[in-house]
Amino acid sequence: MLPIDAAAHSSRWRRRHPVDKAVLGLGLTVLAISLPPWPGAALVLVAALVLLLGPAGVGARQLWRAYRVPLGFCVTGALTLLVQIGGPDGFVTLADGGPARAGGLLLRTSAASLGVLLLAFTTPMSDLLPRLVKAGVPAPVVDVALVTYRMSFLLLDSMSRIRQAQAARLGHTTRAAAWRSLAGLGATAFVRAFDRAGRLQAGLAGRGYDGTLRVLVPDVRVSRGFVAASATLLTGLVALTLVLERFLP
């Protein structure tokens, strides 16, 4: 199981309805990209961080491991805003207002990423996917996504073991060997995926499979209190941003 999904399964908010967490997490993300980066996105960033490390109970190390991935992309992308091409002073020069734009972009992406991570760290995919049917996603697409989700872990586990076996047989010692091993890994993933699908199909056919994959979804209700508190927090962040905008540089 992947670290974020494993954390979601043992999250304090695991038993909350996904709508509760989507309102809060995605609400923060929407605010992060809609409000001015300073102070709007900065406030969203702080709020998301407090919620993640506090009430949601996400470990700081777990969060950093997940967070550094988008952060790397953001930093690389933001660096390009520091320079400009062409102009009277030379072909490549420092851009006017570049640091401010790069800083704003970093704030916005960081805050937006934390909003989505709040949802991801508290809501397992197995809770989210079956409910997408109610959101209007066609059932066959959700079924395919469910099979993809469940089979991905098995395949990733197989790939990990095959990689270990390849390493034990000196399959990664030279560049040529590494390429051969990698190709073998990709081909084995294909063969195993289709073999597993075939066996699943045979097993389900024996149980009267009619094309519908029924899964048990925890019976939880949307909490009006939680949604109202989330809406209050989001509204408060907007109001605070508008107020602070007048006083801060």
């Binding site: 091409i85 697409v141 063969v191 199909q201």
Partner: protein, 260 residues
């Protein structure tokens, strides 16, 4: 490389979502029709999605000495065709956003446009074009994967340049900046992905001839039952080659479903 969460301004994020929507809807309709006609296809399509997800998690050594992940769009488009790949790619991108923190939900439309639409279609078009001129299968596979990878990053550069035009030279200057950064890393990676795809396809031709035949990548050898393994195959023509009616998405996948 995925565009990270919140990287695009809201108007751009919405615009790329709108641009991707018709392709995704088309893919979803194809997939829904297929599953309704052949319920057993759900499992095979799910397996294909899992394969795409796992493929994108492989680390490939780059010529520059670093490691990166293949997009997998070229191989996916050749195996499963672009419309289905659009849906599988969208599911994969959603999983990557929520399970790996790669990409994002607000940038899902932009990432789908580059990785699940342009990449597969461009790669598949090159693959088909080369097959039309009877270029050897592995050469067509290499260039299909190479173009799919490179076109994905070209589109990503365009998306970023549109969102962040250069203060002095505008869109073109920004395209040069983002394209220049990607070119250093992505051209070697596109070559690497092309080579990897060829190696994977070579192994698949040896080990999974039946599946490739059912998917329409290989033609069925005369006198050979689907699924049986043969030492040599004259069947390296694409099923949709000129002069032969191209199979529909549904029939291709249903054959796969019926036979496994």
């Amino acid at each position: 490389m995925h565009i990270a969460e919140g990287f695009l301004p809201p108007a751009h994020a919405i615009a790329w979502g709108v641009a991707s929507a018709p392709f995704v809807v088309h893919g979803v309709r194809s997939l829904t029709r297929e599953v309704k006609e052949h319920p057993e296809s759900t499992l095979l399509l799910g397996a294909s999605g899992a394969f795409t997800f796992v493929l994108s998690a492989l680390k490939i050594p780059s010529v520059t000495g670093s490691c990166s992940h293949p997009t997998g769009t070229g191989l996916g488009a050749i195996l499963f065709r672009p419309p289905i790949m659009t849906v599988l790619g969208t599911i994969t991108l959603l999983f990557q956003a929520l399970l790996l923190a790669h990409g994002g939900l607000t940038t899902l439309g932009a990432n789908v446009f580059s990785m699940a639409i342009i990449g597969p279609w461009a790669g598949y078009a090159v693959y088909k074009l080369l097959k039309r001129y009877e270029v050897p299968l592995m050469v067509a596979v290499f260039f299909g994967a190479f173009v799919a990878d490179l076109s994905t990053y070209c589109v990503t550069s365009v998306q970023l340049a549109l969102a962040f035009p250069d203060p002095s030279s505008g869109f073109l200057g920004a395209l040069g900046k983002f394209g220049g950064i990607f070119a250093v890393t992505q051209i070697p990676l596109a070559v690497s992905e092309g080579l990897l795809t060829v190696l994977v396809m070579r192994l698949l031709v040896q080990s999974s001839k039946g599946e490739l035949t059912r998917l329409g990548v290989l033609l069925q050898s005369k006198g050979t039952r689907p699924g049986t393994r043969t030492e040599k195959s004259e069947a390296t023509e694409d099923a949709g080659a000129p002069g032969k009616p191209a199979k529909s998405e549904a029939s291709r996948t249903s054959e796969t479903g019926a036979s496994t």
